[in-house]
Symmetry: C2
Subunit: 353 residues, 2 copies
């Protein structure tokens, strides 16, 4: 199993900077002062490099919302009961969650994936069953995932990226649902970046001071117990990760292998993306971070990846909501390169020199 | 003429904070942790107050792109020749400019308005002729606009807002084109806020150090010569403003009078909006600032208005481009209130207390 992950990683090609240069040159011919579209130009040029053209088109946007439960909720780290994970999955399937609203608004397809929810769902043609466990184990006491579960989660994500490519999807967003998963994401962030847990742990869905202290202490003890290897993403995922985080990590690796841009959402999906980058650094070429989350650990991950979040709206919901909003801007950036008139075409005088 | 402006101002009603409270209460019933959609909730609640409902709908988005020439270009303050104003108007009409691309992308109608371009346009059914002058006068030497031109520009904007209301438009964006108009906007900003010109003047479309120094000196001398009254928006507009800035000021006043949300774009449109707020403070209830511009004066105007820009993408193009992108988020904020399921509807457990 692990071999398949390494093989996928080895298939990822660095993006072709020739096209980034060609797009930057094209930007200068378009009817606007040089650089005046700021990040829209930077993003557009990156998409050009990913897609290998100076007129990149993004068609068929898709967000995978991956759900999984977390054994660490036994320690009392969340403001919501564990059942909310499966209840929210039903809400996603019924179209009533924030990610549904924002995806409909942005013309984005939503795919809901059960990576490890502790619930027997009724058969539903919109729910993708990729369950690798009925929730992770409590990482305060043992490894969150077995070696096999870890590999199966990542490979499930790689397969979902291949599905997307086959379906003609042009950009993939990743979002998640899992009560307790900010605790896992904080542990991953501490393990990857070396920051102490107190600097990368926040209030998640809104825990009080007492629960926050518990959360930090649980992570401190878990890192002490497991000593995950800083440079071994799979070891970190296995010891303190979760099923949905593994699938998202696989999606990031798989998307890059398929040559597709991928958009992380907030703290948890960026933790998964950071694991993917730790495992295959070239994933970073294909990765966008949709927004800057309110969770304090997010900034550490963003710096770790070397990314620049597109939006900064104080979001801290997850589900892919920030990725959905950012996709509108990513697509806009591509359309600028495709659809704007040049100075020559429009008969507009260029800058006086 | 001036009476009509005062009457419109007097028609503006402060928004009903009851509805802001009702929307905030509704946010707490929706299937997400309280406050987890950050600015999307803040914006949604403001739109609720403007529209007088806790389920606000925004239909039919429109951006007015207002063009005008500036006599102050005689002083050599811009990187582009004056002809670019009319050339870009033709580009807007042909659909090749950035605002056209971003508006098509966002499902926004674009209306192009000639407020004071120094050019005889051929008849074109998409160009709205509201010409109040063939460009403003050079404010380094005389008032930019006569008293009559000033009033006519503002009233043209008020009328455009009424047109929009009659056409069923639900939100108005304002953008502009006018070579030389960052010089005017900087002079307005200095006059309104009291900051010295060097602190509120930037590179506009990209002038070099030498031209920037000229630009600052021109503004310093103009403010000395004219001494516009700090608290008299119409005096400031007349002395150092411009035709398109007057129309945008009128649009902001008119939109508020019609009960419509209005979205300023970057530095120049925010200068116009700030004049509207200086004239009728209640305009601020209806006003959103689409993005934070790269122009240093913009932050001073944002603080003056007490606004929080929605996007921060390093844009400095104008035309309404930042307003167009922000409208996607404004509409998203409203849809969250309208379309999300409540905890009760979705059968999701609320926070443990």
């Amino acid at each position: 199993l692990a071999n398949q992950i390494f093989e996928t990683c080895n298939r990822i090609k660095p993006v072709d900077s020739t096209w980034q240069g060609a797009a930057a040159a094209r930007q200068l011919t378009l009817t606007k002062p040089p650089g005046s579209l700021g990040q829209l130009e930077v993003i557009g040029n990156r998409i050009a490099a990913i897609l290998g053209t100076d007129k990149p088109q993004i068609k068929n946007k898709r967000i995978y919302v991956i759900a999984g439960d977390h054994g660490v909720t036994e320690e009392g780290v969340s403001a919501y009961p564990r059942d909310v994970t499966f209840q929210m999955v039903m809400n996603f399937l019924n179209g009533g969650a924030a990610i549904n609203v924002l995806s409909r608004h942005g013309g984005i397809e939503v795919k809901v994936v059960d990576a490890g929810v502790d619930y027997d769902f009724p058969a539903h043609d919109q729910l993708m069953d990729r369950k690798v466990a009925r929730g992770s184990a409590n990482f305060a006491k043992q490894s969150a995932l077995t070696a096999e579960q870890t590999s199966r989660a990542i490979i499930a994500g790689i397969d979902l990226a291949q599905d997307a490519k086959r379906d003609g999807v042009g950009i993939i967003g990743i979002g998640e649902m899992g009560i307790g998963n900010t605790t896992s994401a904080s542990a991953i962030t501490a393990a990857l970046t070396g920051y102490p847990p107190k600097d990368v742990t926040g209030r998640g869905t809104g825990v009080d001071d007492k629960t926050l202290a518990v959360k930090i202490a649980v992570i401190e003890r878990a890192l002490e117990r497991h000593s995950p290897k800083k440079n071994d993403a799979i070891d970190i995922l296995s010891k303190v990760g979760g099923t949905e985080i593994g699938v998202m990590m696989g999606l990031a690796i798989g998307a890059a292998a398929e040559g597709l841009p991928i958009v992380a959402d907030g703290f948890i999906s960026t933790a998964a993306a950071a694991l993917a980058v730790a495992f295959c650094p070239t994933v970073a070429d294909y990765l966008f971070v949709g927004h800057r989350s309110e969770e304090q650990g997010h900034n550490k991950l963003i710096a770790y990846i070397g990314a620049k979040p597109i939006l900064d709206l104080g979001l801290r919901l997850g589900e892919g909501t920030g990725a959905a909003l950012a996709m509108h801007l990513l697509e806009a950036s591509a359309k600028i390169l495709c659809e704007m008139a040049t100075f020559g075409e429009a008969g507009v005088s260029d800058k006086e020199s």
